[in-house]
């Protein structure tokens, strides 16, 4: 990391632009350059908690409740009021200490109607729920985090796996990969990718290009993936442009096979070499 930082620093300091070396280098024909689009559907809902996280948060909240001050009931409910009576009625009173009685769970230690050895359970009295309840004070029922697309396992749907990032991959020449498009006369990587996407999947899509600069380069020699540092003749290059889908859908007119998949599913679909070259682009969340 330190060496990389130094490199960046040197690059900042260098006064001679790289243009000089680039002009002397032979130009690569535009037909060998393609623009690949990494189109992401970002998560709609928060990530699922792992069992460890669930247990840890539960432990912390129990600790906090155990160390909590006694609930100041007199502050919230005026003495002698109807609401106070309702509140007191809803509480499960603690077991009080009696002379000559054996307490299995230890001798009660009650101060101000609270068992000091344990957490205090404050029960908010529930008002009666019935049909007549207005829209204003009805109970809030959250929507399910799993959708119909999840049940059907519809990999073409954007409503699937709401807690994960989904990526668009298409089937080209019998193999699954990120959609890539030729850079013809546009001489503009990000626009080539975006217009290519629209020509393939229709105009009914709203995307946001994250950056004009490519996030990665994939190099092919004789149709085979090679290391991204490889230089030389006869290389086919694919520059990966990051983009996000905001609304709309990818609906190709032609019988193009496509899927919205998360990282693990992509690993199953694409070839191992392709996944190895692109895995750092796919989020684990």
């Amino acid at each position: 990391m330190a060496s990389r930082g130094l490199l960046t620093f040197q690059r900042c300091l260098s006064t001679s632009p790289a243009t000089t070396s680039a002009t002397s280098a032979p130009a690569v024909p535009l037909s060998t350059i393609r623009s690949t689009l990494l189109l992401t559907r970002t998560p709609v809902v928060t990530p699922e908690l792992t069992p460890f996280e669930t247990h840890f948060y539960n432990y912390q909240s129990e600790l906090e409740r155990r160390l909590m001050w006694t609930f100041p009931q007199y502050f919230y409910y005026k003495k002698g009021s109807l609401s106070e009576r309702r509140f007191v009625k809803a509480q499960k009173g603690p077991v009080s200490k009696q002379p000559g009685v054996f307490f299995k769970k230890g001798i009660p230690d009650i101060v101000h109607n609270r068992e000091r050895r344990e957490k205090q359970e404050v029960i908010i009295p529930k008002s009666e729920e019935d049909e007549s309840m207005s829209d204003f004070n009805r109970a809030v029922v959250p929507n399910s985090r799993t959708t119909k697309a999840d049940e059907d396992n519809d990999i073409k749907s954007l409503e699937r796996a709401l807690h994960r990032s989904l990526y668009l991959i298409v089937k080209e020449n019998g193999s699954w990969k990120l959609p890539s498009f030729a850079v013809e006369d546009s001489s503009n990587l990000h626009r080539a990718a975006e217009s290519g996407l629209r020509s393939l999947g229709g105009e009914q899509i709203n995307t946001w290009t994250v950056a004009r600069s490519p996030a990665a380069v994939l190099k092919y020699q004789n149709g085979k993936l090679v290391a991204p540092e490889t230089q030389g003749e006869g290389l086919q290059r694919e520059y990966v442009i990051k983009s996000r889908i905001l609304s709309g859908l990818f609906a190709p007119e032609k019988a193009t096979e496509f899927a919205w998949l998360n990282r693990e599913e992509i690993e199953q679909k694409v070839s191992p070499e392709y996944f190895q070259a692109t895995e750092f682009l796919f989020s684990k969340v």
Binding site: V44, T70, P72, Y74, N143, N206
Partner: protein, 150 residues
């Protein structure tokens, strides 16, 4: 309470409201809080501290070890997440550098456009952040034709 002051028969009698009169001097040294805050403070200090607190948590040796283990495991878990995230970020950064260096050699025009700073670029307004539960309409399928911007 009203007091009437009459000074001579020619002057009109003036009425003075005693209720509104200031009883404390303006530059009193005692810091005062607003009446509402004072009411809350009084209400909450009806009970003494001893009565408000639960009993001190006394952990046995085994419990203490258990607690320390849980905390250590959590710290390790967070560290793993952090290092994992950092390594991915490093890979992505190196990949961008590599791609740009490659583009510089390959095609200078493409490189210049890709390297251009996008001044004033912002996140789109219709981008959403993850929430705990999905909205009633999970995805918006209809798209308005965007205004052409060159």
């Amino acid at each position: 309470m009203l007091t009437q002051t009459t000074q001579g028969s020619l002057k009109q009698p003036t009425l003075q409201l005693l209720r509104g009169l200031r009883t404390k001097s303006k530059n009193s040294r005692v810091a005062t809080v607003s009446a509402a805050t004072q009411r809350i403070i009084t209400g909450l200090s009806v009970l003494s501290g001893r009565k408000k607190y639960p009993r001190i948590l006394k952990l046995s040796n085994e419990d203490l070890i258990r607690h320390d283990t849980i905390q250590a495991a959590w710290a390790q878990y967070q560290r793993d997440i952090r290092t994992d995230r950092q390594s991915v970020l490093d890979k992505q950064y190196d990949s961008i550098i590599n791609a740009m260096e490659d583009l510089k050699i390959t095609n200078m025009e493409l490189f210049k456009i890709a390297n251009k700073k996008e001044k004033g670029k912002r996140f789109p307004l219709d981008a959403r952040i993850p929430v705990d539960f999905p909205p009633n309409k999970v995805w918006h399928y209809e798209v308005k034709a965007p205004a052409e911007k060159k």
